[in-house]
Symmetry: C2
């Protein structure tokens, strides 16, 4: 099985530089945030978002050398993503992420809110200084969408009437919007045709949705050790993901258990067992595969290159996480 | 004594419209934030920032009717200000503001972080859609400065070596940057000369510093009822403002009490009494008056108008808060 890191070989050196830049950015001037920065930009992160931006930058014409603007865009995407994770962990009161304690559980709400605000602020400052209004609009849309997605997820807790469409909309806001709009922003910086810009957007959108669906499946099929957080934690907190939604279609009794928010003894274990008895997980896998195919189709307009190949490989790597 | 509201008479109707727009913006789509929106944009706010933007907009050439861009800029300033207040209250663990419980104490950290993020996100989206890169840069600088100021305030708690310069820098970041840069942004939208833009920036900067200094004096001279929060709360939390800094110059013993973070019985009351025995408050008032004069001098380049007069009156109103 290919690891995420070797997938990114065409941009490996670029990603190392990016990590150093991000750590220096947050930690250097602010001792209070230094530990948080090491924590956030140290080991552990998959860096899929900046890798996709860097690979798309190379695949759309900068195969030899990246421009400073493309590099800065990659940094901005990771900063926005990280800022939203830090605040989500406060909002969701999550204790663990990727096997390590979250910023708010290590350093307190105070530092977590400050660190997230600092990263959002720094990213909008960097963004403005890319001097490209179209890119500013694309990425500020992402910041809106992230807030919208987190609010929708809050509103929809334990809502057993949630549709697959509403789940996909929330997943777009929380995960796919950043990939889709940053991919399109690469197209803007590389001055590709409007048609290709939309294809890049489509790649990011379908890749983002496929990643979210696979993450949501893994919450049911992986061990707590592999996840780095307790298995089934989405369901326990009332975040109803696509395997649950499909399972409820087959087993309406599952909805009753969820409606009462696992109030009776054994409810949660019964819910997990029920989901595994249905085709919910299998149908979710099919949905992820469908978005994977659509993502790859969007790359048809790019000339063959090592970077384009890596972009195709990433989508397959995502599905292989399920094996 | 003129109230803040009657000061704003040239833009009273504009401010009513702005309040309705802001309440609708946050509350309409998100029941979860509706109560927070009523709380944030209902009664109580002084709306000095949007009033200054609207008055400057009229004074720089739109005396008859404001453009949609000027109105939107005023909304953005109030959204950014409100977002930062909500997050500051989480960071500072403040229970009360303007005599009412803070969002995080009424609705919890969860909603406070979400509401602040939503407002920051919405403001950067509005900002991008003003379609003016220079304005985007000015206001994203403000968002950076707000985060920087809050971090500096955290770093400097109980630091009795803090200089007046460092206090003014922190006050610029936390208060004056928004007024200064939004005033300059009005100049950009009104297409005034570069020289006048800098004068508008100067007006906002000096007005912001004068407001902060007066607020910091009132923390020692007002009752808890008038403040809407416990008197002396800045000092108690280690936020050393200019009256304290001047007082320590006269009475070095005060620094010892503060250095030990009021650990001994009676320390806090002794510190308050010491400050009142020095010229710290009087010297702070002189500093505020100095910035007031500088703010007003910056308006010399504007033609006389009811709006220009209101901008001058605001600076005097600020000083009169001390009587």
């Amino acid at each position: 099985m290919t690891s995420a890191t070797s997938l990114f070989s065409p941009v490996e050196a670029d990603l190392s530089l990016l990590s150093e830049n991000l750590k220096g950015l947050v930690g250097a001037r602010h001792p209070i945030l230094h530990a948080a920065a090491e924590h956030l930009f140290g080991a552990g992160g998959k860096r899929i978002r900046p890798a996709v931006v860097l690979l798309l930058s190379r695949a759309t014409g900068s195969e030899q050398s990246l421009t400073a603007q493309h590099r800065r865009l990659a940094e901005i995407t990771e900063m926005i993503h990280t800022a939203s994770l830090v605040h989500d962990d406060v909002v969701d009161e999550s204790a663990m992420r990727r096997g390590v304690p979250t910023v708010h559980s290590s350093f307190g709400n105070r530092i977590a809110v400050l660190a997230g605000d600092f990263l959002f602020a720094q990213s909008s400052w960097y963004l403005a200084n890319l001097d490209n209004l179209e890119v500013v609009k694309l990425l500020s849309r992402v910041i809106m969408d992230l807030a919208e997605g987190e609010i929708q997820q809050g509103l929809n807790r334990f809502d057993t009437d949630l549709s697959i469409e509403a789940y996909l909309e929330k997943s777009y806001y929380k995960t796919a919007s950043l990939m889709a709009n940053s991919a399109k922003a690469v197209g803007v910086l590389s001055a590709v045709s409007d048609d290709l810009k939309e294809q890049l957007y489509g790649y990011g959108r379908h890749l983002g949705l496929a990643f979210q669906i696979v993450d949501d499946i893994l919450d049911f099929t992986s061990s707590s050790e592999a996840l780095g957080k307790p298995a089934g934690s989405d369901l326990r907190s009332g975040n109803l993901t696509v395997p649950v939604l499909y399972a409820m279609q087959e087993q309406p009794a599952l909805a009753q258990i969820i409606d009462r928010e696992f109030a009776e003894a054994g409810d949660f274990d019964k819910a997990i067992a029920t989901i595994h008895q249905t085709c919910g997980i299998e149908r979710s896998r099919t949905l992820a595969a469908d978005h994977t195919g659509q993502a790859n189709a969007c790359l048809a307009g790019l000339a063959p290159s090592p970077s384009r190949q890596a972009l195709l490989d990433i989508t397959h790597y995502n599905l292989r996480r399920l094996h």
